[in-house]
């Protein structure tokens, strides 16, 4: 791990990128049976990265980022359906789907859904952010927690999108199988989106945007006193996270095929909490921490499901406790604390030894 860099300092070994990209490209061929798990891994990495954009880099612990995920899911599914059919009639027909999308309708609808889900989720974040990002610390956390709970309840009350009984997404057209299989198609979307999110984060952290977020995290009053437009950066950071989360929601909705307002879309108790844990496990406030954390968390989670069936929630809960107690700084955070020189925090040039 010593070759990976964190945050704004140091440089990353290019070999790491090659290995990860090779894994991403080879995965559907090498382990086709696990294609959905690996798809989820990419989405989890996206979760952790986008959460860290506020929670780690900016110091605003959000428990409400799942709202944008669920919003994207619903926006995309609704767009895909409403472009060709009557949305109300679609949802009334329930699971017994009498409407079938033609191949071109399916893919055009999906493309429109993906784009719109990102835009709507981002707009929602900009709107919410301009209001509640004025709250600090635990008040922000509680407020976003409320948002994530409320969002599920609100979605469960809207008949147009299926209310509490949920909504099914358009069925994959069989004709498309001759070109690409369903699982592979969505795997590629997940992979590309995760890579795009990573590149976006890396770019943001390399310039003034990342520095301003860090300044807000370390001392927001000081940042204001230095004349920084803190509100603008805070709202934009949330908007960017929401954009990627919205698209990831759109893809997840289509992978799962059925959107339940509380169990699939606005899953505050699972995905909503996991995105926080994954970022903390890997090391919040670092670029690679969330990636590492998501990978470890996802593997552990799958192992628990396989080997501790029936006790998997208990094992996961135990893991969460262990993370918070023993690795509050996360893996990369602890490494940085104990080996600061690996991350470029060293005296240079060697100065006269004086009080430290």
């Amino acid at each position: 791990m010593s070759t990976t860099s964190t945050g704004n300092t140091g440089s990353t070994n290019p070999l790491l990128y090659i290995v990860i990209l090779a894994f991403g490209i080879a995965a559907p061929f090498v382990m086709p049976a696990y294609i959905q798990q690996v798809s989820f891994l990419w989405i989890f990495i996206l979760f952790a990265l986008t959460w860290d954009l506020q929670g780690g880099q900016m110091g605003y612990n959000s428990f409400g980022n799942i709202v944008f995920f669920g919003t994207g899911m619903y926006v995309s599914a609704s767009t895909q359906v409403a472009l060709y059919f009557d949305l109300g009639a679609w949802n009334e027909s329930g699971g017994e789907n009498t409407f079938i999308h033609a191949t071109d309708e399916y893919f055009i609808g999906l493309a429109a859904g993906l784009v719109l889900s990102g835009i709507v989720a981002a707009a929602l974040a900009a709107f919410l952010g301009s209001g509640i990002l004025g709250l600090r610390g635990q008040y922000f956390a509680i407020c976003t927690l409320g948002l994530s709970v409320a969002a599920g309840e609100i979605a469960a009350g809207i008949d147009l999108i299926g209310a509490g009984s949920g909504m099914s997404t358009p069925v994959w057209p069989d004709a498309a199988d001759s070109v690409i299989e369903r699982g592979t198609f969505f795997y590629i979307l997940c992979f590309m989106l995760a890579v795009a999110t990573f590149i976006a984060c890396k770019y943001l952290y390399s310039g003034r945007f990342g520095m301003v977020l860090n300044a807000i995290r370390d001392d927001e009053d000081k940042a204001e006193a230095m004349g920084i437009h803190t509100t603008r950066y805070k709202a934009l950071s949330w908007t960017i996270s929401a954009f990627f989360l919205g698209i990831s929601g759109a893809i997840m909705g289509n992978i799962i095929g059925f959107i339940d307002p509380v169990d699939v879309a606005f899953t505050g108790a699972t995905f909503g909490v996991w995105m926080v844990l994954m970022a903390i496990l890997g090391g919040k406030g670092t670029l690679w921490g969330p990636v590492l954390g998501a990978a470890i968390f996802h593997i552990m989670q799958e192992l628990f499901w396989t080997y501790f069936l029936g006790w998997q929630r208990v094992a996961l809960g135990l893991l969460i406790i262990l993370i918070v107690v023993f690795l509050p700084q996360g893996i990369l955070g602890s490494l940085r604390e104990h080996f600061p020189e690996w991350f470029g925090h060293r005296l240079e040039p060697v100065a006269v030894e004086d009080e430290k």
Binding site: N8, S206, R208, H229, P340, G344, E348
Partner: protein, 250 residues
């Protein structure tokens, strides 16, 4: 007063509940000078700073910066006009390195629209940052986490960050508090140099009499939220009211 006023406070008052922290304070800071502000603990010095830079809204009175009324502006807006303050409890970005602390303090950050927010900073910023870190003697430690620096070093870093921001007027809240006495002389020299070389007007709250008498061109003295005296350092030093306020005579 030979120079025109850069900062003018007229009849400023501020109370918190029943506590009158400032009452009808008026003062003038002439451009290019170093003005000191002294007063016993609790006399309202920091409150005055907070009202000037916009942290606390004024109850009444006006504040003019370069002739512009600023008492209704918010903290970051005032900072962008070129009036900056440092904090009594030193405030730096502890989770960032010294270099990052400096870069983020560049006045270029004030310009934040969609095109500049996502861009980097030009190399001049790094050059300037290196110069100023050298100026305060922290160049060797520029890549350490600034939260790991000693208190005195953090104070110096905060000062360097303020200079990096290229303010016209710098309000310093007890710049020498908690600093090792041998470092204080160096700091006084640097404050004077910043005033002469970079042309920054300084308005300094200071408890250390030796420092303020050495540094300031003129001094204001606050007591119990009221302006007690104003004059040259010598006059203030021998002013019976000031001596009484400090020694607690009735």
């Amino acid at each position: 007063m030979k120079n025109k006023a850069i900062l003018e406070v007229c009849n400023s008052s501020k109370s918190f509940g029943g506590v009158i922290a400032n009452h009808n304070i008026s003062l003038t800071v002439p451009e290019g000078e170093i003005v000191g502000l002294i007063g016993p603990n609790g006399s309202g010095k920091t409150t005055l700073f907070n009202t000037i830079v916009g942290t606390h809204p004024l109850d009444n009175g006006e504040v003019y910066f370069e002739g512009q009324e600023i008492s209704s502006l918010r903290v970051p807006e005032i900072a962008r006009l070129g009036m900056l303050r440092t904090f009594q409890q030193t405030r730096i970005y502890g989770g960032m390195t010294g270099v990052q602390n400096m870069r983020i303090s560049s006045p270029l950050i004030h310009d934040s629209n969609f095109s500049t927010m996502f861009s980097g900073l030009p190399p001049e910023v790094d050059e300037r940052s290196d110069e100023l870190l050298e100026f305060v003697g922290l160049y060797e430690k520029r890549n350490l986490m600034s939260g790991d620096l000693s208190f005195g070093q953090q104070k110096l870093l905060e000062f360097a960050m303020a200079l990096m921001n290229e303010p016209k007027l710098l309000l310093l809240d007890e710049p020498t508090a908690g600093i090792n006495p041998t470092l204080i002389n160096g700091l006084i020299d640097r404050l004077k140099l910043a005033n002469e070389k970079f042309g920054i007007t300084l308005f300094v709250i200071e408890h250390n009499m030796r420092v303020v008498m050495n540094l300031a061109d003129s001094i204001y003295c606050l007591a119990h939220g009221e302006m007690l005296a104003h004059g040259l350092p010598d006059e203030i030093q021998n002013d019976q009211k000031v001596i009484d306020a400090y020694l607690g005579a009735s």
